[in-house]
Symmetry: C2
Subunit: 262 residues, 2 copies
């Protein structure tokens, strides 16, 4: 009696037809010498910058486009939740999200559908990685896919700490030019003038978000710096957002507030 | 020459017509003995569970409904970004998001539009609080508003640590029954059977997210536990998701991976 191979779920936020998705699925199929099953469950169209959105106001449908490839009319988070609980017949050993067209670096990760899919995977207890290329055209998907396979192999072999996912960002360069992998912390990125104000045909002001020039802040230990230097950045992110230093501070300094009454 | 009073921005994810929004705005107007200006900029309709979504695929409009109350056809994050950079004539000293109908506790905060508005405020450097009531009907908005005013007064007086916001959750009970405030860490919440599968009129399966029974996990130090015990929970959250313990671990244990090449 043959045992079924371990199952790997691949998703993204650029949509089920994005080239990065297939590069990632292809890379995942090389794991364990090919003894894996890879299933793709992804949004039916682009869902960038949706953050960790769940669709709760309308029903969701899942369409099998071809064997092992499913599209859902929702967000990356929807795809992971429905995929794991309703579509897949056994539990994945790994979730890989990407390869995103564009880096998910610094504070931008809070907007990222790619990272949010990995957050959802982690919430339901599946080791998860998010993979992005820091570029916008002529993207080296296959090269980043090779890196993703190396990282994924480590995760399969060694596991991840509880409630922790890996955010992987590659510079947009060929394999031979990668300087290596750096383990990093999340840097800071702000946008200058990120809102464009335009008049519509009737002269009414309207606004476009997402333009602007990114301003990088981050020391040598950050994701942003590593990618800028030609390294692949691997950042462990956790789900507990508590600022424990701040908690200890306000427990002491704000103590009188806790009584509420005079 | 009289100086303009400090400006406070109020937003939410339940939409500009939600009663919790007005309870929060009313409470904020009591700060500094009333010497504040409060402006409401909120989504034109409910945008729950949108996470930290930014609308980048269509233009956004802002409508002034009446003096000091604006509606934007976007997410809470959109409202904060456009509000601060394009609508308000001076920089707010505080952003208050809520009062949300329903708690934002444990891991649920990753989905929360209410919390995400406070994340966006924090990203652009404005001290920010998110305020929610852990209930679904007969909500004690005015009582939670009183608590929000106390917390906001502390923030105005003492500031917040860098890149840190406060997530405030009140139990749905009258003021006199509050046991006090507890400073807490983020607990864990999972959902059992959170996806409903139904057949549409043509027999095709479709899925509804967001049902299910929450399962609480969390020690006495968590937000979930505090609210269940009748305390108002105040959790400091930060924007840096790096798991530094995990970072130190993989720096050591996964060191051989960093070379990429043999």
């Amino acid at each position: 009696m043959s045992e079924l191979p371990p199952l790997i779920l691949v998703t993204n936020d650029d949509g089920v037809h994005a080239p990065g998705l297939f590069a990632l699925a292809k890379a995942m199929k090389t794991l364990r010498g090919g003894d894996v099953e890879v299933v793709v469950i992804a949004p039916d169209r682009e869902r960038s910058a949706v953050g960790h959105a769940l669709t709760m106001h309308r029903p969701l449908f899942c369409e099998e486009l071809r064997e092992g490839v499913y599209a859902i009319n929702g967000t990356p988070t929807d795809c992971v939740a429905i995929g794991v609980k309703k579509i897949l017949r056994r539990r994945p050993v790994l979730l890989a999200s990407g390869i995103n067209r564009g880096g998910n670096l610094g504070d931008d990760i809070t907007y990222s559908g790619t990272v949010s899919a990995a957050v959802e995977g982690t919430l339901i207890g599946i080791p998860s990685i998010a993979v992005s290329i820091d570029g916008s055209s002529h993207l080296h998907y296959a090269d980043t896919g090779r890196v993703a396979a190396i990282v994924a192999a480590h995760v399969l072999e060694r596991g991840l700490p509880p409630d922790t996912l890996l955010n992987v960002n590659a510079p947009n360069i060929p394999w031979d030019e990668f300087k290596g992998i750096r383990f990093t912390g999340q840097g800071k990125r702000t946008y200058d003038d990120a809102i464009q104000e335009v008049a519509d045909p009737r002269g009414r002001a309207h606004y476009w978000l997402g333009g602007g020039t990114p301003i990088f802040q981050g020391g040598e230990e950050t994701d942003i710096h590593a990618v800028a230097q030609g390294f692949v950045s691997v950042t462990p992110l956790h789900l507990d957002l508590t600022n424990y230093d701040a908690l200890r501070m306000i427990e002491t300094d704000w103590a009188e507030m806790t009584q509420l009454k005079p």
